[in-house]
């Protein structure tokens, strides 16, 4: 059976160029970059090359890029570190639609006595900036607001949020895991202090990521141990993963310059128009809001998302939903709930996300398979 992948916000295929670049570091140049001998230290050159590649993608200096195990670790390092730098300034401002890596870390810190404010979004997924503005005060250590939402693709106004944070002397962190490589990010121009990156969201390998830390910020480490990464992140460097992240960042930069966003946006528009014209009672979430070019969430009224995913899966199509039926009650995602979707709507939402390898022909296949699935499930539904 053919397989068509429409879940690129979950993870992406490792680009062949990336894989090729990584391979020697498993079995030929396998030294530890921290070793004294040249066999090991040669690997440090590969790591430094990757650091430059990542820095270039986001407009940073290489020494501001610290390698981690991925987005979750980068977020944890940023939040826990920034919240504990100054006891007189220990508050956090986040949004209700952050990835769990930020949201759960904020809740953990809240239980530890850190004041946390959770800013809301409107029904189109847009951040309530005024709420953020009034929540940030002299006690705020860090404002952490994502660059792009993983479920809806909605973009937050990073530049404006950085200004709000800095206006009160707070640091600004952005979880840019979904945004990096898909839209232009420039930490200098946008005045970002801390930024999280994950390799596997941009055709790099799983298990590698980075945290950008603006020069001059003395962030305490999450991991204690060896002296790697200037003491910010102890642990033997994941050389193949880091090399893969570097190459993936370089490719993403090239793609962006060649207009990848425009191509993805055209695909998205085709999918959205196709769904709307063939599936009645369907709506696209946040369609009026500025979004990532590769992400859309469609709500198929009256039918349950997991049933749709199961039938799509049988046709070889991988997509995802904002909820899972597994615990006795099906709760819609925190993102859709924050947007004011009731459970019925939230449980009928399907996320379709794609990437540079997605073809027009694959979009045709999706648009051909989806309508009969929706119709079939509507026949069984008491609400349709």
């Amino acid at each position: 059976m053919r397989h068509v992948y429409f879940d690129s916000n979950a993870t992406t295929r490792v680009a062949p160029e990336v894989l090729e670049e990584m391979m020697p570091y498993f079995d030929r140049s396998y030294g530890n970059p921290s070793s004294f001998h040249s066999f090991g230290s040669a690997c440090m050159e590969a790591v430094e090359k990757a650091r430059k590649q990542v820095a270039d993608l986001i407009g940073a200096a290489p020494e501001e890029v610290f390698f981690t195990s991925g987005g979750t670790e980068s977020d944890n390092t940023a939040l826990k570190g920034a919240a504990r730098m100054d006891p007189s300034r220990n508050g956090l401002v986040v949004s209700a639609v952050e990835h769990p890596a930020v949201l759960e870390t904020a809740r953990y810190l809240e239980r530890r006595g850190h004041p946390v404010f959770y800013a809301g979004v409107d029904s189109e997924g847009s951040l309530n900036v005024r709420e953020v503005s009034s929540a940030v005060d002299e006690g705020t250590a860090l404002v952490s607001l994502m660059a792009a939402n993983n479920e809806t693709g909605v973009l937050f106004p990073v530049d404006e949020l950085a200004k709000i944070a800095h206006g009160m002397g707070a640091l600004y962190h952005t979880d840019a895991v979904q945004a990096v490589g898909k839209i232009e990010i420039d930490v200098r121009k946008q005045d970002i202090d801390l930024l999280s990156i994950s390799a596997h969201k941009l055709h790099g390998p799983m298990g590698a990521g980075a945290l950008f830390v603006r020069r001059g910020i003395d962030l305490p480490p999450l991991m204690h141990g060896g002296h790697q990464e200037e003491g910010l992140r102890a642990g033997t460097l994941n050389v193949p993963g880091i090399v893969g992240l570097g190459k993936a960042a370089e490719l993403a930069g090239e793609e962006l310059r060649e207009g990848s966003a425009e191509r993805l946006r055209n695909l998205r528009n085709r999918i959205e128009e196709g769904i709307i014209s063939t599936c009645p009672e369907t709506l696209i979430l946040a369609s009026e809001t500025e979004r990532l070019p590769n992400t859309l969430t469609a709500v198929f009224g009256g039918i349950e998302s997991e049933a749709i995913l199961t039938l799509l899966d049988m046709k070889g199509i991988s997509a995802s939903s904002g909820s899972a039926c597994s615990t006795g009650t099906t709760d819609p995602s925190h993102v859709l709930t924050a947007m004011g979707c009731d459970a019925n709507m939230g449980n009928s939402a399907i996320r379709i996300s794609f990437d540079r390898y997605t073809t027009e022909e694959e979009v045709d296949y999706l648009l051909e398979q989806l309508p009969p699935i929706v119709e079939k499930l509507r026949d069984v539904s008491p609400y349709a």
Partner: protein, 193 residues
Amino acid sequence: MWKYSEKLIEHFKNPRNVGTLEDPDGHGEVGSPVCGDAMVLDIRVDDEQRISDIKFKTFGCAGAIASASALTEMAKGRTLQEALSIKASEIANYLGGMPKEKFHCSVLGNEALADAVKDYRQRRARLANELETLLSNPPEDLARLLGEEVEVLSVHPSRVRLGGTADHTDTLAERLSKLLSDSVDRDVEVSLE
């Protein structure tokens, strides 16, 4: 993806007894859009209290749809009592097993069926009640038609069977049917033996 059995997948892709019944003898509803899964289920019941027809509609995942389908297939032809005793674990077995996280899905069908049976019993009790009132205190024209002794043989939400010595049985049945239909807001068939 969940590890579903072939039989469960088959029921999910081709669910049996999907739909609604016109003028059902019992109608059940469980769940609601605000709590995830939901199901409606209609039954038709014969005079021996057997489920002669059953239809359902479900808002839910593959497990919920397949177990509703299985339940209707298992319940059809059984007496109400037998159908009510079908356990969630029997539905899971019938489908060749079910992931344990999905067990709650099969409970939904049982609840819908129990609700439909409850509705059937309420409709039946209401009709029996109306009938008793009519027979014990009949309007004048009906009193003339009724014989000395009228015995209630059986009551079903949409039909009653009477025995006795009445004359003009056709006229009486028609008149009783009209009065009962009006009071329970549903066509009621009356037969006299």
